[in-house]
Symmetry: C2
Subunit: 738 residues, 2 copies
């Protein structure tokens, strides 16, 4: 850890900005001439309130943070499962080998799955009666940590034990469990989750594959009617899968009962397709090339009636369809509800990715020096540049927020899937939470890894430093398990629905309750005038921005007001034709999705804030984490500053304070940045990034020692620039004396 | 082309937004209940001025655009060179083979360079006396188009003929040209450009490698004093390079004259390192794996005095140093000025990448259907969703702007490097332009390719659809040839310098002149009050936003005012200590870099606008391109809306119009989107994306035909959802009649 820390904090903090050595004096002093241009307003604007006494209420520096306490908070509710899985991720046999081409990479990951099976990893997800540990939350926590072994390993095991096994477990019944769970847990039965088709991804209800019941033989006939109905992008389909859980339109007695799941054998023990089945390899992908994704098609393939996973819908021998759920729409949602597990785990994996990328990039930025720190003879540490802080520290705040929000999310998931509080309302809330958080965190992780890559320069582009390839693998997390934009639209519809209930005075509690309680607490448009008045006063505005209540109200208003506006717009066409209604909805679609995204960020901010409220830790640590939470809130507000000004929620003066106070927070957090990433607790065996091992620090020290020795030796060459500047000064002096 | 067009425009335009089929009626009608919540303000806000008559001044649809005329504009000033190079990019022997692992990929690209040499491609860059065509601009135009063959091919040929060859050409003298240009043009001499070191990338002036002159033997001694001084990330260094242009501190007679370039043999004909030279392979990278990047180090390697590339500085046999340029700072800048060629070409390649990504994603979005278009029985085309338009069309506007800005940039480059107008001022302007446009366009291209990748869903992640791998290769374009953030800081310093001159009334024309003429035309802070007054009136505000002059003034103010504020802030510490001055600069760094970025976007907007002014084309085409330019300007203003409101440049009412009018522009441009990407003129042989070949359209038609036939057959199964809804309706009817 100490090898990771760049020098000691005091010699790197607030280091000055270097002057480009090649600039001529008149260039450096360019600003001098600007004097005459100053106006009162320009001074105020440039001041940006930095003179506000409020800014100095809290000291700019405090003692180091309590890393162990913070790490415990980050490990969350299932620390043992997480720790055991981190040990696996640190075991070389599970690491990604960057030198492997796709075929070898696929074989390696398959072998790793067998090794995981031997370690009993899959057990966590399944009932004790099958030798499992059956902890829904613990299983996901462990699964997420596999990301740093190799994302391909994580996702392939997710296909086997989360999707394929999960579908048999959640959509099947005991006979299916007895028959297949032990085999899939041991990897004797490598499986495929055959839901998506070339023609239908987001709209699962419209898949084209049919499963038609044949009364005479008591079989289902699985058939692919056209090319667009080929199953596609399926992990394990190109090579390793022996059977599939296949989603198809269940047709019996002339009625289509909608999408149901069926167990379909795919390959024989020699790996050849069974009769009537064909397929293709999806080939090289943008990432996750350790997984053999592929396509499947079926030509009148017959499977026994019992292969219908019949927990939510069944077909009797005589072809009669039955289900406990009357509404086919509800039934479909309940069946798909099992998919939420995938979204929970991607949200957690995104948090892991952010943590790892930032631990690498900030460690490097705290050791790497570039551009002469004029006067000191030493170069400036990258993290001392304000721009570098601006690029990385708000991302660090998001990583913490995403981590804390994920733990709450995971607890709710556990409540529902462990049967502790498995109510329809709770399931619906869980699904909305998943539809909000998975998009927010996967997009944050993509942007964070890209920023980390660029912040490490050319070194960030080398596989040996990890970031670039993690970014490639993470890319598809924004698409699978539900496209981010489609998921956010579902969230938006739920917010509209809750808003309508609220207006109707519907007693039913709503997902937005946590927002509603304050967002709908009459800070609506009707009261705006008064608000602007309240905000007009400049004094104490930083103190005001620092209050959690202020940040919460602003972030909540960013959700509530647009929802009210959209509802109003839709309401105006409530009596119009379906086409007109849909056109009206489409005209609001972008706004609705952006509002849903703002809602997701509010949830993350609130989770961070709740963590602070309950966090029993020393005051210095608490203060640093509070600064980080404030940075999260203020940079979120800053991104939407236009909206806050248009809505009258912020005056121009206060709006300016948002950015200036955010910059002040960067300077305060900077000395704690290394502690805050070290607290994630990933070792070199997890990060496997040469630039984050201390190698850069050694190079810097070696170079510094070389120059020191050279100077001491008296053999150092004279710098022509020095001779040139001295000559210029002499000339200028001569002129003035003339 | 026609196979690429989704259906006919009229049946896809403004298609309504589907209602999730699984939603219950009460969910769909949620908005109804919102009625009571409406307030005047909410209605206005939801209206967002869509009722403004101005919005309907221009028809929402016009005839198709004149693709040939637009394509000629896109081909720019060197159409023949571009066309010839596009033919090469369409030739399979130059294509990237995604199945190859790194070693085979490297060999393939090396072979492709020999093939290019045979075609005479490198000739374009060099003097006729060496069999070249010597057209600086034409050479770059041709080079950019190689991107779609394989970015590795483009960059490796750029290393050979742009960097290695270019350095010998621009920094060497005739004896060097005679000796090496013919060999490097023919690939007999594969070369390395050895500038960057592990320890110094952006700060080239501080490289550690030394070249010390030895009078006795009349040789330079090349030496690597410590690990950080290893040359690193060098193309051709790991395997193929036989010689290098190496940058090192030139030391003679005890004086360090700064960084100079030397010709250094690296490998013998068997490919073994020459004595005193060692190295490492950089291994797998995030992209461009067809290039053998590596590291080199030197232990007292001796080269003859004549190997100093001595155009700007020379050492006589007796060790006396001489140069025509007195100031070492200037001399360094002039030598590095040759680097601008790389930045020009990356800017152009970024434009090509945006064009290709958008031609793929928009073609697919115009054929792909998802979610039932309720009532029509047909699914909705992706590009009819407002969100999808919002994701892709502003990027299309940026692609056009980047393309037009690049052509102006390239013309300036040609003026200077062809010696048509090679003045120090023109060179300085060219370097500032490069430092502004290369970051803007490479970042735009990265964001555009990522958006295109996600907009194509899972298909976008497959190598067979190109986008993901182009994104991987393009990634490092934001870092090499000058890190984007470092370059933008140089632009910011230049803007500050020009601002100072302006204030001093310095007659010298400044790079910011084009901005200055209006940005400094007294719309500064002092006049703001009056401005806000002017803006207060709501009527005609859309007409006002549509005016080019309005957009220009707003975009220019976004540059000028922050520069004035930063100058003021720096001026306040002009008399302070260097450390305080640097701290003050650092406190402004992020703002300065963002302002430089805004300046780059202004340049792009102006290039688009100039193109419209001179564009002799039919009025429909001109109108569509003007809408696209307006979308560029308005979305740029929209991103900074907070600033425009804080500065008083926009009132809340007009600020709302910005987004609502941008949305209206999306609807107007949507029917022309396919024409606008087809105009780029890339064929299937360039795009090589299966989803952009019309295959998706065929799948859609096959599926539609299948269902039509099924319905006609009378054997279509009944949908349980229909039965269920009818039953529900009947129940409700019964209730009300009771």
């Amino acid at each position: 850890m100490s090898r990771r820390r760049g020098g000691n904090v005091t010699d790197t903090i607030a280091a000055p900005q270097p002057i480009d050595p090649s600039l001529e004096p008149h260039e450096v002093a360019a600003a001098d001439a600007a004097e005459t241009a100053l106006t009162e307003a320009a001074v105020d604007a440039a001041n940006d309130g930095l003179d506000d006494p409020d800014l100095d209420v809290a000291p700019a520096r405090t003692g180091g943070i309590d890393q162990d306490a913070v790490r415990r908070a980050i490990f969350g509710t299932w620390p043992e499962e997480r720790a055991r899985s981190r040990a696996i991720a640190a075991d070389p046999q599970f690491w990604r080998d960057d030198s492997l081409a796709m075929p070898e990479h696929r074989d390696r990951v398959l072998g790793q799955l067998f090794a995981l099976a031997e370690k009993g990893t899959p057990g966590l997800a399944y009932p004790k009666k099958y030798g499992g540990g059956h902890t829904a939350g613990g299983n996901i926590a462990a699964f997420e940590e596999l990301f740093l072994a190799d994302p391909s390993l994580q996702i392939k095991s997710g296909v086997q034990w989360g999707l394929f096994g999960g579908a048999i477990f959640h959509l099947g019944t005991e006979k299916h469990h007895d028959k297949w769970l032990p085999k899939l847990m041991s990897m004797e039965l490598p499986g495929i989750y055959a839901m998506t088709e070339t023609g239908h991804g987001s709209d699962v209800a419209s898949v084209g594959t049919t499963a038609t019941y044949d009364i005479d033989t008591e079989e289902f006939v699985i058939h692919t009617p056209f090319r667009g109905a080929w199953k596609d992008y399926l992990g394990n389909a190109a090579k390793h899968g022996k059977a599939a859980v296949l989603f198809a339109q269940l047709i019996t007695k002339g009625v289509n009962h909608g999408v149901h799941a069926f167990f379909v054998p795919i390959r024989d023990d020699e790996g050849n397709f069974l009769p009537g089945i064909g397929g293709e390899d999806d080939g090289v992908k943008g990432g996750l090339n350790g997984i053999d994704n592929g396509r499947l098609h079926f030509t009148n393939v017959r499977i026994p009636r019992e292969n219908l996973l019949n927990r939510y819908g069944d077909v009797a021998a005589d072809g009669t369809y039955s289900s406990d759920i009357d509404s086919p729409g509800r039934r479909f949602f309940v069946m798909l509800g099992t998919l939420v597990q995938g979204r929970v785990s991607l949200d957690g994996a995104a948090a892991v990715a952010m943590q790892a990328g930032l631990q690498i990039a900030i460690t490097y930025a705290n050791q790497r020096r570039q551009f002469d720190n004029a006067g000191t003879g030493r170069e400036t540490v990258l993290l001392d540049y304000q721009r570098h802080q601006r690029r990385l520290l708000p991302r660090l705040a998001q990583a913490y927020a995403a981590t804390f929000a994920h733990d709450e999310f995971l607890r709710k998931f556990h409540e529902v899937f462990q049967g502790i509080d498995d109510t329809p309302d709770n399931r619906a809330d869980l699904e909305t939470l998943a539809a909000a958080l998975k998009p927010a965190s996967t997009w944050q992780a993509m942007a964070t890894l890209q920023e980390c890559r660029e912040a490490c320069g050319g070194a960030g582009f080398l596989a040996e430093n990890r970031i670039a390839l993690l970014h490639h693998d993470l890319d598809i997390y924004t698409t699978f398990e539900g496209d981010n934009n489609v998921l956010l639209q579902l969230v938006g519809k739920r917010l509209l629905e809750d808003y309508a209930k609220k207006i109707k005075g519907d007693p039913a509690r709503t997902i937005a309750t946590q927002v509603a309680d304050r967002a709908f607490r009459g800070i609506g448009l009707s009261r705006l005038g008064g608000h602007v008045g309240d905000l007009g006063f400049h004094g104490r505005s930083v103190g005001w921005l620092r209050q959690a209540e202020t940040q919460r109200n602003l972030l909540a208003a960013r959700v509530e007001e647009p929802i009210a506006e959209i509802a109003a717009a839709l309401n105006r066409v409530a009596k119009a034709s379906p086409a007109e209604q849909q056109a009206a909805f489409n005209a609001q679609q972008n706004k609705l999705i952006e509002t849903a995204h703002a809602y997701a960020e509010l949830i993350q901010w609130e989770a961070f804030t709740r963590k602070l409220e309950e966090f029993d830790v020393d005051s210095d640590t608490h203060r640093v984490l509070t600064w980080l939470r404030d940075l999260l809130g203020l940079t979120a507000i800053e991104r939407d500053l236009g909206w806050y000004l248009m809505s009258g929620r912020l005056t121009a003066q206060r709006a300016r304070m948002v950015s200036s106070y955010a910059n002040r927070l960067l300077a305060r957090l900077r000395p704690h940045a290394q502690d805050l990433v070290d607290a994630f607790g990933y070792t070199d065996a997890h990060l496997r990034a040469k630039i984050a091992t201390g190698a850069e620090l050694e190079r810097q020290e070696e170079a510094a020692a070389y120059f020191a020795e050279l100077r001491a030796s008296g053999n150092a060459p004279v710098d022509e620039r020095t001779l040139y500047r001295d000559r210029r000064r002499a000339e200028r002096a001569a002129k003035t004396n003339r």
